[in-house]
Symmetry: C2
Subunit: 319 residues, 2 copies
């Protein structure tokens, strides 16, 4: 992977760098952000890692986790450059109301927005963490154990720990190098997959009880009432859409999460060749081939029907 | 990893080679066996791949699957040398009653038996498939797409696809090379993890609805009525006990399966340090540290109480 020269020069000349993860941050956004922050600080720069939303507890093991902040005022005084990570519009990171000197976008999502003074968008990259790995190499930053742990977590998150179709020889080679640099593969996997709290697991089981499969599409839903009943939050639903993929006949898994009255956020995961980004784009959402999402208005029944219709029209439920 | 010279010379001088996988063969035994067979045939040797037990359907995608046989008579006439893979006693492969010219053992298990004319046992190897990879390299065999797929499956099986503590930089590097040679990571993961049938998944959800956690022990149960309702069989519950391990507070997961009137079979899985074999032994059952089982009489309530009491007395629910 070739790092654009303008990204390197764009970062090198800056002193204050504001790194923004997208809303509802995942392991790729957070791991990439923390790794980049540590690397830039080792080069004498001042950095700030911003996430509007609270970081899911499962990522609290990430080195540097405690520095992630939702209050950027102290940093904004320095008029920093903003690096948008793992997304490519300021709205996706909830930073549109802040003023920055300029902006740099580093992302691997397919749906590209017209934003960014300097852009590096590579939909072929398995994870933003992988792009940051090459960026750090090009900047001549040594991969510490902390950086390695953050980047390995980023890559693990977006490749399903090497189970998704974006797992390539390159992904495995870089991951091997990160393990050599000190990333602990099994501890990271345990943190990501085996540290669910009880109420989150209870919510999962409740959601799985709503499972219906129509034409290869598994649909589950989570209502606000379910969150209340279990004492859980929207962030607790991360990866819920993965589980129904265990079923052989399921090509796409969709989780409908109630966000307001007759408003739903839909998280899509695909197995094999189905490109769920195309479905999400139809609904003005985005994502990548195997993981995408969108918002939709309407009651659950009509929202579900709309998804099934679009998937059918796009022939998405075939392999 | 260094391949012992005696293994190389031992194989090179033979013409007929009988390769035996262990009983209840898994992806490591099968993938290693099929890869070795193809490699040796490319060197002009005649090979036979033996498994006493039927190969689980999830492994039917392995290249060469159709040649695995439980009837060795045709081959035994040639008085072959026997290569024991992923185990180290003839009983584990159910070949003790057959006559061989000599025997070669290639295994990574810790409990070593006094068997084998030539032995290569490396408990530090993550998988027998990894040892076979180095063996093929040392023999100068090119890694075909078929060999790569078999070896990648072998390594995936024994490392939980890079999630267990035996996942090392070396494991990832070799896997990267296998992907370069044509192994498809996501298709292999899909075959191993995402080929559940719908009714089996439905039974899982019904079982998870019964989940209760007491002192770090997750208990679920499956009644005969649940089997009837979902059209499933006891064999469909394999690995059900793994799922509640996702919960951080869970140290042990126990699945109670009704086998008759007031009769239960209990399957135990542990996370970390808990040794469930000790619990199973108390009830005249058996197994290993992280996976064991036993049978118990009584109604569900008293059977559960008995388990909790024994686990508490053995201090098993602590880590």
């Amino acid at each position: 992977m070739k790092v654009p020269e303008k990204i390197l020069s764009g970062l090198k000349k800056e002193k204050s760098i504001f790194i923004a993860a997208h809303i509802n941050p995942d392991g790729d956004a957070l791991g990439a952000a923390l790794a980049l922050a540590e690397a830039l600080e080792s080069k004498g720069k001042e950095t700030f890692v911003y996430s509007r939303d609270p970081v899911p507890a499962i990522y609290s093991f990430l080195p540097g986790y405690e520095r992630i902040s939702s209050d950027p005022r102290s940093m904004l005084k320095h008029r920093p450059v903003m690096v948008l990570l793992d997304c490519n519009s300021p709205e996706r990171a909830a930073v549109e109301k802040y003023g920055f000197k300029s902006s740099i976008v580093i992302d691997h999502h397919e749906t590209e927005k017209d934003f960014g003074d300097i852009k590096w968008i590579d939909p072929g990259a398995a994870a933003t963490g992988l792009m940051v790995f090459y960026l750090l190499k090009a900047l001549g930053v040594g991969i510490t154990k902390e950086i390695a742990t953050n980047l390995y977590t980023a890559i693990s998150t977006d490749t399903g720990t090497f189970r998704y179709s974006n797992t390539s020889a390159e992904v495995l080679k870089v991951s091997a190098e990160l393990v050599e640099a000190g990333a602990p593969p099994n501890l990271i996997a345990e943190q990501i997959y085996e540290t669910w709290d009880r109420k989150r697991f209870r919510l999962l089981v409740i959601a799985l009880n709503t499972l219906e499969i129509r034409k290869g599409i598994a649909i589950t839903h989570i209502t606000k009432e379910m969150f209340r009943r279990t004492g859980t939050k929207p962030a607790d639903t991360e990866n819920f859409s993965n589980l129904p993929r265990m079923i052989e006949s399921v090509k796409i898994s969709a989780v409908f999460r109630e966000t307001g009255r007759d408003m739903w956020k839909v998280s899509l995961r695909s197995k094999g060749a189905s490109n769920v980004a195309r479905i999400a784009e139809f609904f003005d959402g985005g994502g990548h081939k195997n993981a995408a999402g969108f918002s939709i208005k309407g009651d659950l029944k009509s929202a579900r029907s709309a998804l099934l219709k679009v998937a059918g029209n796009l022939n998405m439920n075939k392999r």
